[in-house]
């Protein structure tokens, strides 16, 4: 016995509405985020992640409002991410009712944000999220042995930092992050499976819980992610458009020997 593998629906939110993009473009509307999150709670989701996707370059208040509204209806832990830039932003989300705050671009620009967040609120509140893409062979971030590695992208995937993702996550752990969301941009929206190489590489280099993200098309992909080293699996499209219910996913994982609630 021990901890269960967590099934986490991710709700991308734009102007208060849920959307899900294929490769971050071509967004579709799938409803009210709080209603949808409450539904997932009742269906057996273990956690919810809300990403305010417009937040990197627009108004921040919508995310705080969302955090506050969710607190009325959602009785499982939830994370708010997207455009969190400062310790004050983190505090505002946690005070509004979020259990965790996910930081991405801001952590790359100001790595001390991880340390400060962990010191003030505890590591368990600080989720370090990365959007990564496989680097082409021969690029600077490539590994000496010829394995190309992964590069960190910012601003919802619009800006390539050319930083090595695994090295960045090792640093994030050292600075006090509590867990990682690994979002593979190569897989995101394809429904062809998580990037298993990425998960096992990060699992071998760090000790933090890994939330696999990007590419879930069916429950078998989630089983593979767990076997590669993920503690939790995040998905959007397959849940939002009813391809699989939370219960169906849990049943499939349970049958494969993965401990679920």
């Amino acid at each position: 016995m021990g901890l269960k593998v967590r099934i986490i629906p991710c709700l991308d939110v734009d102007a208060g509405r849920v959307v899900k993009g294929t490769r971050f473009k071509d967004l579709r509307d799938a409803g009210d985020p709080v209603e949808l999150a409450a539904l997932y709670d009742r269906e057996g989701a273990d956690e919810i992640v809300f990403y305010d996707i417009t937040a990197s370059h627009e108004d921040r208040d919508t995310a705080t409002t969302l955090a506050r509204r969710a607190a009325e209806e959602v009785f499982i832990p939830y994370t708010i991410g997207g455009g969190v830039r400062t310790v004050q932003d983190m505090r505002a989300m946690l005070r509004a009712g979020a259990d965790k705050v996910s930081i991405n671009s801001a952590a790359v620009r100001t790595p001390d944000l991880i340390n400060e967040g962990a010191e003030r609120f505890g590591s368990q509140c600080v989720v370090l999220s990365v959007d990564v893409k496989r680097a082409e062979s021969g690029k600077p971030s490539g590994k000496p042995n010829g394995k190309p590695g992964w590069e960190v992208y910012l601003n919802g995937g619009r800006l390539n930092t050319e930083m090595d993702a695994v090295e960045w996550l090792v640093e994030g752990e050292r600075r006090g992050a509590g867990e990682f969301v690994l979002n593979s941009m190569d897989s995101d929206g394809t429904e062809s499976g998580y990037d298993l190489d990425l998960i096992s590489e990060v699992a071998s280099k760090t000790g933090l819980p890994i939330i696999a993200s990007g590419g879930a098309g069916h429950p078998g992909h989630m089983v593979s992610a767990v076997r590669a080293g993920a503690s939790a699996v995040l998905a959007a499209s397959i849940f939002h458009f009813g391809e699989y219910s939370i219960a169906e996913v849990k049943e499939a994982l349970g049958e494969a020997g993965v401990p679920v609630r």
Binding site: D46, F75, Q124
Partner: protein, 204 residues
């Protein structure tokens, strides 16, 4: 029936209040010990360090209010670090006295390669029956903690969970029940616990 939630700047106060309201409680979120004394039932939330929690309770006169609630025989529920402060001392905050209503001390997880804090969903196994935990044997609850109580008397242990070691996840005696996990973040099983608490409070 009026449930007082003790307001002493604990992080989960609002989510505890919302869960109680969700199951139909009339909640008085209060920092006033007299209003705690006037309530029919009392909930002590809690997040954070043992020493911090005791200091904040003491500053507000709420440590005495907790003792009086227990002595008055009112249904009394503690959540998360509130379970820990019902014990005597903690490794987390040497030199700080807990409420001492339950005999024993609080220790840190020492579980080899397993990560601390213990964070996530884990099963609860009941070791004694209690109205607050009715129907919840084997259910999973959401935990976030690095320390757990080691009671001196096994009689106060209501339920256990396993994380490298079997630990006390719920404890109580007489009119007091406390849980290490967060029922307000434990979906339907957690709401059922709060519902049980209200039923227990109505029946006492």
């Amino acid at each position: 029936m009026n449930v007082a939630v003790i307001d002493y700047d604990a992080g989960n106060t609002l989510s505890v209040t919302r869960a109680l309201k969700k199951v139909g409680a009339r909640v008085d979120l209060t920092a006033d010990p007299e209003r705690v004394a006037a309530a029919d039932a009392v909930v002590l939330p809690g997040v954070g360090a043992f020493g911090d929690c005791m200091r904040k309770l003491h500053e507000r006169g709420m440590d005495q209010a907790c003792h009086e609630t227990f002595r008055a025989g009112k249904p009394f529920l503690g959540v998360c670090v509130a379970l820990q402060v019902f014990f005597e001392v903690s490794e987390e905050s040497p030199g700080v006295q807990g409420l001492g209503i339950l005999p024993g001390r609080v220790v840190r997880f020492d579980v080899g390669d397993l990560k601390v804090p213990h964070m996530g969903w884990n099963d609860l196994t009941l070791t004694r029956s209690h109205p607050v935990l009715d129907g919840l044997d084997g259910e999973a609850f959401y935990f976030v903690h690095s320390y757990y109580p080691e009671p001196k008397e096994t009689a106060v242990v209501l339920g256990t969970s396993e994380y490298g070691t079997k630990f006390c996840a719920a404890a109580g005696r007489e009119n007091l029940a406390a849980v290490q996990f967060h029922p307000e973040k434990s979906s339907l099983a957690g709401l059922k616990l709060y519902e049980n608490f209200l039923d227990w409070a109505r029946g006492l």
